[in-house]
């Protein structure tokens, strides 16, 4: 049972109007990978629960106010209030009750729940409670992900052990980005000169999609990421694999690809640990073949899509910083052969 399902289900039975909205969200939300309502952590779950309660209260207020307008329409030829007639003091009392009294009580309650209690849940985690720290650095238009102070440097995919409180240190290399994985927690902005932190926690293994939510330039729309919550043993195996330097190319084509990578412009932007390539403009490619997606979760990591990306990155992400190098198709296939070996 996920965090999201237990309590809201009880709530839905109580609140028929909310059910309508719920159903409509459910219908249209099929396959939604970024919903804030499908949650796998306590903070995200609590926020979703808060939303359902706020929605319920909002539906009541809205229905009440519209009902008054409908009564006004039905009694359009009759002056005064229903039952009480033309009583100015009661009309004024109505304004005070609905405009001051009820809102005041409701707002104090909302303030207490959300801005006194829950806000502590979504605040940056106490470092003593987080056994693990990951640096996530926003770039135009990809995510750099670093473990152990940079011993592992990967991109666009964050692997975390399940049921583990992870402290994400969110910074930026250029403009403001915002790190957001809705199923797992609130978002946090990445701002030049500021080091922000946010808790990343997943209660169940799985893939959770995230996306940059602060407009960061022409390819803001294509700046997504995947969080992989793994069982601890799997996670350790993955991390150990990532710590190794890149293997030497095996096939002749891969060797030619490596040669091209180092002598052409690739190496000036990308790092491959264990080789002379040490650029820092683009993602670290030491284990690029182990990733499931490319170009900030824009395309799948298959040889065909990788080749298409290298051949004409501007067709996939117009305005991206990865240039069209005008490589021959032989050169592209050799580079792909090399990169495919970087597991």
């Amino acid at each position: 049972m996920s965090w999201s399902e237990a309590a809201p289900r009880r709530l839905r039975r109580l609140l028929p109007p909310a059910t309508i909205v719920t159903v409509s969200i459910g219908l249209t939300g099929c396959g939604s990978k970024q919903s804030i309502l499908t949650t796998r952590s306590k903070p995200a779950h609590d926020i979703a629960l808060l939303w359902w309660w706020m929605l319920a209260a909002a539906v009541v207020v809205f229905a009440g106010a519209v009902a008054l307008l409908i009564v006004a329409w039905a009694r359009r030829d009759t002056p005064g209030l229903p039952f009480f007639g033309e009583r100015e003091d009661l009309s004024q009392g109505m304004v005070l009750l609905f405009g001051v009294g009820i809102p005041f009580v409701a707002l104090v309650a909302l303030f207490g729940v959300s801005d006194v209690y829950l806000v502590g849940q979504t605040a940056p985690p106490n470092p003593r409670t987080t056994p693990m720290t990951i640096d996530v650095v926003g770039h135009q238009w990809w995510w750099e992900v670093r473990y152990d102070g940079g011993r592992v440097d990967t991109a666009n995919e964050i692997h975390i052990p399940v049921d583990t409180r992870v402290d994400v240190i969110a910074t930026t290399a250029d403009v403001i980005h915002s790190f957001w994985v809705p199923a797992l927690n609130r978002k946090i902005d990445m701002i030049p000169g500021i080091t922000n932190r946010v808790l990343l926690y997943a209660s169940a293994p799985g893939e959770y999609r995230g996306q940059c939510s602060q407009f960061c330039g022409v390819q803001h729309a294509h700046m997504s990421l995947e969080v992989f919550a793994q069982r601890p043993a799997e996670f350790r195996a993955w991390l150990a694999g990532q710590e190794r330097p890149a293997p030497a190319p095996l096939t002749a084509r891969a060797q030619a690809g490596k040669q091209l990578f180092m002598t052409d412009q690739c190496a000036s932007c990308h790092t491959i640990a264990g080789t002379p390539a040490d650029g820092t403009v683009g993602p670290n490619l030491t284990h690029v073949a182990s990733r499931t997606t490319l170009a900030a979760a824009e395309i799948r990591n298959t040889p065909q899509e990788l080749a298409a990306w290298i051949r004409d990155p501007q067709a996939i992400k117009p305005g991206d910083h990865m240039p069209d190098l005008g490589l021959s198709s032989t050169a592209v296939s050799e580079i792909v052969a090399y990169l495919e070996e970087l597991r």
Partner: protein, 634 residues
């Protein structure tokens, strides 16, 4: 009411007509200082920008009608959504409310013959026109501002946006801000000093309270924006580092300065709309506003509290929790004066005998959408929830219900309501009702699904989105809604345009409560042959008072016919203070605006010395302006 002028009064009216005669033709419009003509120019200019902003909105919605849309390139999309925001906020809503409605109506409602500073009034219009064209030149040339209407640095810095796109934004907003500053000073002085004798501050129409509050808010909020834009241009042009963290600057400084302006701005947008609502409701429900003093107080409170909530735009930047909690509390408190007004309108409609004609329908639509926008606004004052949906389509839904639903609906209702005042003709009622329902449905279909798509995780400002995210159907519905909405808006304009030519003449069209209905439709250049003497907030419902005004006109009493004269009264009790002589037409305002346009055009092109030349020219212009004043006084 022209028809009721007696033969003996006609002589005095003719005399005033001669004193206030206006230049005809194009030159007349270029040099006018008449608040009604300036209001009409504001109206058509703002309407044109509304059309441009609307086309931009349709481009956005067409791009997003399905996944992986490619109607616009990413660069073009960024320019289009940025210009949509800039246009709707700075070039449509504010100029439409304060510029068009305020200019035309405030002097009429307070029983004055013009604004306090008629030439400044013309200047603020010409500067507004210049600044709008300035920013649209950039769009036509293909390098319009492209970092969003709140233009966060460092994305908007020279390093990441090397073209002059952002310079059109920075200079354009400074340019535009001059216009708004001048206009708000003019409104404040006009409302305080030019009210008809007897219209003490507690008898002032709620419309004027709203404009007074909005003008004060604008006056205090704008410096923050102008300073922010100035720092931006110093950073971009001269290598200052106000916002550059690498050199000891601070990227959040921009956000703070921008939103210190930006949130009061929301209330500056919506307060005049509240004012329009409080004009339309009493007329069509045939009763006085419930709890008038509390509503007036709430209008002022909203404008005041609006200055203390700006950090709720910045709940995800990583401020200390305590800081954000304060701003969340302030944001919740502002709900109270808003709710007071809301339920005062509802109570007035409920206890009156409402006649649901087109203007009142738009106000009911406004109330419904203001509730939705207000409720979604309350949800984002819950910090943790905001931290989830911030910069998602949920926010886009929220502020469109507030700005389109709650600010534009009263503008549309107001267009119908005062159309007979401005033209002397009435609009087509059935077409009006159809246009309301189209607009109402279109607004809901366009903006309501955005709440859901935001909750499903769609960030705003994406030029496209992938399939399979659960966003496709909702985006499709939104786009269809946008076309329906556009059809409704076109129908409104068409209704008014056709009615202008063919509509039946009826004057007065309804039993309005405020003084604009005390004169003919359209009003003469001097508004009132004799200045009304007021004894309640609903002067048109005081039949005896108006009868006395007519008798004074018959006797030729208090005509103020020694030039462009209008009475000035004391700020609080509106006792007669002095008789002012207003300046006639003048060419200096458009000339001054032209030199300002020259300065900003040269700045954006980097010709600093020529800009200095235009600055000197501007100085000479001001000298000429005051030269003229001296001779007029002499």
């Amino acid at each position: 009411m022209a028809t009721m002028v007696s033969p003996q009064a006609q002589r005095y009216v003719d005399e005033l007509d001669e004193i206030w005669v206006e230049r005809s033709g194009l030159l007349g419009w270029l040099t006018t200082t008449n608040h009604k003509r300036i209001g009409i120019m504001y109206f058509f200019t703002a309407l044109a920008f509304f059309g441009a902003g609307g086309v931009e909105a349709l481009l956005i919605r067409t791009q997003l009608i399905g996944p992986n849309g490619h109607l616009l390139s990413p660069q073009a999309y960024d320019e289009v959504f940025t210009m949509h925001g800039i246009t709707m906020i700075f070039l449509f809503v504010i100029p439409m409310t304060t510029g068009a409605f305020g200019n035309y109506l405030v002097p009429l409602m307070i029983g004055a013959r013009d604004m306090a500073f008629p030439r400044l009034n013309a200047l603020s219009y010409w500067i507004y026109l210049g600044s709008g064209l300035f920013m649209y030149v950039a769009l036509v040339q293909g390098h319009a501002p492209n970092a969003g209407w709140f233009d966060y640095v460092p994305l908007a810095s020279k390093q990441f946006d090397p073209g002059n796109n952002i310079d059109f934004y920075g200079y354009g907003l400074i340019f535009n801000g001059i216009s708004s500053t001048i206009a708000s000073i003019n409104f404040i002085v006009t409302i305080f000093k030019l009210r008809a004798p007897g219209m003490s501050i507690n008898r002032m129409p709620l419309f004027c309270f709203a404009f007074l509050a909005a003008s004060f808010a604008l006056l205090f909020a704008l410096p923050s924006l102008s300073v922010a834009a100035l720092f931006l241009e110093l950073d971009r042009q001269l290598g200052f580092h106000f916002y550059d963290a690498a050199y000891g600057g601070n990227a959040l400084l921009w956000q703070n300065l921008f939103w210190i302006f930006g949130h009061p701005e929301v209330y500056i947008i919506i307060l005049p709309a509240f004012g329009i609502a409080t004009s339309i409701i009493p007329t069509f429900v045939h009763r006085r506003m419930v709890f008038f003093p509390l509503v007036a107080l709430s209008e002022i409170l909203v404008a005041f509290l609006g200055f203390g909530v700006w950090v709720h735009h910045m709940f995800t930047v990583g401020f200390a929790t305590l800081t954000t909690v304060y701003f969340a509390a302030a944001s919740l408190i502002i709900v109270i004066p808003s709710a007071i007004q809301l339920f005062a309108w509802i109570a007035t409609i409920l206890t009156g005998t409402p006649d649901f004609q087109t203007p009142l329908l738009f106000i009911v639509g406004f109330i419904v959408y203001f509730i939705i926008g207000g409720l979604s606004g309350i949800t984002v004052a819950a910090i943790p929830f905001d931290q989830q949906v911030h910069d998602s389509y949920y926010i886009v839904a929220h502020f469109h219900f507030v700005i389109f639903g709650a600010a534009v609906f009263p503008i549309l209702g107001g267009m119908y309501f005062w159309f007979p005042k401005v033209t002397g003709r009435v609009y087509h009622e059935l077409t009006g009702k159809i246009s309301f329902w189209l607009t109402f449905a279109g607004t809901f279909i366009t903006f309501f699904p955005m709440h859901i798509v935001g909750i499903l995780g769609m960030p705003r400002r994406n030029y496209t989105y992938p399939p399979g995210m659960g966003w496709t159907l909702l985006n499709f519905i939104e786009s269809i809604g946008a076309y329906i909405l556009a059809a409704g808006l076109v129908l409104i304009v068409a209704n008014l345009a056709v009615s202008y030519v063919r509509g039946p003449r009826r004057d007065p069209p309804y039993e309005g409560d405020t003084l604009e209905w005390a004169t003919t439709s359209p009003p003469p250049p001097y508004n009132f042959p004799v200045i009304p003497i007021v004894s309640s907030p609903y002067p048109m419902w005081d039949k005896d008072d108006r009868e006395r005004d007519r008798q004074r006109l018959d006797r030729g009493e208090g005509l103020l016919n020694l030039g462009h004269q209008t009475p000035a009264t004391t700020a609080q009790d509106a006792e007669l203070d002095e008789i002012l002589t207003m300046p006639p037409h003048s060419a200096w305002p458009p000339v001054t605006a032209l030199t300002l346009a020259g300065i900003f055009a040269m700045l954006v092109m980097g010709h600093y010395w020529i800009a200095v030349g235009f600055l000197a020219l501007g100085g000479l212009t001001l000298l000429g302006w005051h030269q003229h004043e001296a001779s007029a006084a002499g």
